[in-house]
Symmetry: C2
Subunit: 353 residues, 2 copies
């Protein structure tokens, strides 16, 4: 490969080979248009020799579309999303698309900007985990021309493709499990209920209590977190604050269900520091099932969200849509599952499953 200062184009190659640019284009763009084997070889050889790199802008401009897939997530440091992202990325690559990752940093304005940016790039499609409010999102999506799949958040009346997590059921499962383990006084610990997912979890938690005829009143703690740049640290500190709040109650509950693993771990560690042992004195359920759950003491019982499956499925569904606009709409609800580890104490010997 030569070290050329200037970019070499098909017309350069055409000149060297003594053929027209059309022929060069035909072989280099792997079109199925017939070109003699001889010329084909010659052109490919020259291209390699001079280190030809197709100019993607010329191609895209001409063809009017790119083969990129934009993926917008609220965080890339959150292990849950980075897992999901990684899976989606691989799926795109394996189907011949280039993933374009956008981190909205849970910021509605940034998310909107990134959507515009992706539109300007004429990406082939968009995978979006939105943090915008339902109204804003709904309004914004009206203008979008390209294939798009929503995951993680949707809104009532959304008619397009989407993949959802069943937050309601996840929290229900967590709460139900605690009840089955013999706990009665169960509190719900969360950051602000500003997102749909969190509200759904709270509903699921309440429903599980109701279904077992347990009272819900006052059994909720919410802490408005301070700003922290780092996701993991932020939620970890939030968990500690929730622990503090928990100890301010007149009496300790039996168990607590949290909205994510990091918060649960923060809470457990704070409690430990204050001399309260989990699960002996109190049981705790996490949510998400990130890798860290296995690593902490005690290993955290949690609700598994299928991040990897969701990531690749989202990509697959989107690509189906891209390649066949008439493909029927898919609206999928991913199913959460219970992961038993050691942060929940079984008060009754026998647990009904």
């Amino acid at each position: 490969m030569a070290k050329n200062r200037k970019k070499v184009t098909i017309s350069d190659i055409a000149k060297i080979a003594g053929v027209s640019i059309a022929t060069v284009s035909r072989v280099l763009s792997r079109s199925d248009y017939p070109v003699s084997e001889e010329l084909k070889r010659k052109i490919i050889d020259i291209a390699n020799q001079v280190g030809y790199k197709p100019n993607i802008f010329g191609q895209m401009l001409r063809k009017g579309r790119s083969c990129e897939i934009g993926i917008i997530v609220p965080s890339i440091t959150n292990p849950f999303y980075s897992q999901l992202l990684s899976a989606a990325e691989q799926q795109c690559l394996s189907q011949g698309y280039v993933p374009f990752i956008c981190n909205s940093m849970s910021n509605q304005q940034l998310e909107l900007n990134q959507l515009s940016m992706l539109e300007e790039r004429s990406v082939a499609g968009i995978i979006l985990s939105s943090v915008s409010s339902d109204e804003v999102l709904m309004e914004r999506l009206k203008g979008v021309q390209m294939p798009l799949i929503l995951f993680d958040q949707s809104f009532d009346g959304y008619k397009g493709d989407c993949i959802q997590f069943d937050f309601f059921k996840g929290a229900y499962l967590a709460t139900e499990y605690l009840i089955q383990c013999g706990h009665r006084d169960i509190v719900f610990a969360s950051g602000e209920l500003d997102r749909r997912s969190r509200c759904l979890m709270y509903e699921g938690y309440k429903q599980a209590l109701k279904d077992s005829n347990l009272s819900v009143s006052k059994r909720k703690i919410i802490y408005t977190s301070t700003e922290e740049e780092n996701f993991e640290k932020k939620d970890y500190y939030l968990g500690q604050e929730l622990g503090k709040l928990l100890l301010q109650k007149e009496y300790l509950p039996d168990a607590v269900v949290t909205i994510n693993d990091i918060i649960a771990i923060g809470l457990i560690n704070y409690l430990k520091h204050e001399g309260i042992q989990v699960p002996h004195d109190l049981s705790v359920m996490g949510f998400d099932d990130i890798a860290t759950c296995e690593m902490v003491t005690p290993p955290l019982s949690t609700i598994h969200q299928p991040a990897v499956e969701t990531g690749s499925l989202a990509a697959k569904v989107l690509i189906n849509r891209i390649e066949d606009m008439n493909h029927k709409t898919v609206q999928i609800m991913m199913q959460p599952s219970l992961v038993e580890r050691d942060s929940v104490r079984k008060v009754h010997k026998k647990v009904r499953r």
Copy 2:
């Protein structure tokens, strides 16, 4: 914003406004070319009304360069890289560049492909954390036309911009600290020494022992890991395997220095499971200082690598280079620092620092 099937271009707007496309371009591309306020308003209004989105390919083709910065890292699920990435990303955005994230999955071939892809896109510059061998990387970089900054790995004789971590010093610091805490029999635990960084750490470890006149022989355990897709799990299991290997020795050492935090945590948990308490029976040092260190029991003493600073610095330096090709070469060595938590026992009451 209207719902137009077809993409609207400047010539559509020019037609509606009754002006030339040049005028429209001048207004919409925010050139400083003078246009009457009246027309400016009119054109902007129309553009908004019809939902005009500039075609980036037209722009790029014309201008011959994009404002993207390609960032290649070996993993996006590894919290160390995701932190670094996040910082680099923010820095790019704040200086008007669009980050284009590429995950090489620690795969040399994929990395090479992504480099080509970025070249084809004529990105403004590249931030690269390579996993390729020195020879391959050196050879490949010769052909690269655009500004590029290497971090994490470099090679002898590299003349361009780079930001390195001082792995040697990091491991030296870790080992020295253990010695200062009164430990004598210190083992080095690692996965295969196939990467420069790991070799450097091993050297740093040996040097620290030498400087204290301690013997190095047989004080190393290496385990060749099996393939695991998930970074965190992989290294965690690797840590457990290393723990197993450790217990196969005739006698337990005083302490072990590991090459990253996850491995250290895996090792500690395995040992715990086998009834050996850290730091009481054995001290362990991690490496990287990821958020999880704080969360585990005991909190992990480790060597802090400035991921965030490195990420934004890499972006800054690259952008300097992009905007001024004659900017003098910068080769920076980021300094590691010791983070004392509770995984190291102090045998002597007084520790010299």
